[in-house]
Subunit: 219 residues, 2 copies
Amino acid sequence: MLLSGGLDSATALAIARSQGFACYALSVDYGQRHAAELQGAARVARSAGVVEHRTMRVDLAGIGGSALTDPRIAVPEAPTRGIPVTYVPARNTLMLALALGWAEVLDARDIFLGVNVLDSSGYPDCRPEFIAAFAALAAVATKAGVEGAPARIHTPLIEWTKAQIISEGTRLGVDYAQTVSCYQADGEGRACGRCDACRLRRAGFAAAGIADPTRYQPV
Amino acid sequence: MLLSGGLDSATALAIARSQGFACYALSVDYGQRHAAELQGAARVARSAGVVEHRTMRVDLAGIGGSALTDPRIAVPEAPTRGIPVTYVPARNTLMLALALGWAEVLDARDIFLGVNVLDSSGYPDCRPEFIAAFAALAAVATKAGVEGAPARIHTPLIEWTKAQIISEGTRLGVDYAQTVSCYQADGEGRACGRCDACRLRRAGFAAAGIADPTRYQPV
């Protein structure tokens, strides 16, 4: 289970737990400027009662190219067209590769991640065709795949709206106050309220008719 | 260009250079016990005149599962059947994901790697079907792919024997004394002469009729 500390992966974890899976959570410290997210991941993992939570470090900041890893690129605070500058090159490919490796060591056959295409801001690696291509890769990339039992990639939220995600997570008891979606959260995990991720999240709570528990930075 | 410091990737780099590519070399420190390999990579990169050589660290040792990253699992010194314990779960998927990310930042469209199936000891992620699946993934995973110009994955050695690789590399001027193939090289980069990688390498020089420049540990 890839666990970012955001709203989507917290919900995907709750869904996996509700389906009876014993969950191993993997967070990836890829040099994101919003380290508050990783603290969110630890809170969510603890609440959900995962078997184990690991954080692996990969220095994507070293290659740059994204507003999420390069402090010289500003996080946009207005909607943008096309693939936004918060896109991190090959991020989901890399995180799934790490999950695939750990799954193989654990002899786990199911990998969950909380990607979502409708509200995903146009990231190429959040689309169903990306997930299908990764599943095809997993079938030939690993010992488990060669032996006829490749890992399945579960993306329960992929076609949901943010409001649907929040409704289902709330039904399953997710405490969204523990999660951090903001691209520029402060040291206490409080959200800016202005970036793309904050706007999508706030609109999702409004559309779901559920009170937004997000802690925002003082204006 | 993925550059491990071994014989194969040094040859693939020489081939890319001979085809006129300006090369950016990426080595991955994944917690392999043979750190001498990374020093070999630095020597090879320098000799080949790459534009830039980066080493990225990923803590695969943290997930274990391989004799190459887990000191509790012995490196075999006799031929084994099936996928050997030196297989590192999802290693090539992960390294290609890192290369894909850096390629996207560089706006590079060509990724070279020195995988080789005939002499590859049965690793699933050295086979042509793995490379084809990764290329299909790259086409949907990245901004470049979505915009219609996905990265091409070049594997010039994939169907060659070790002897063919050594012959071609020698013709292109590769100094194999700089490379380290051994899974348990010592601090000075000297090879054990007994592990699977050493045996394949030594047999390759013999079959090519080229003197083996490998420095071996005193017996």
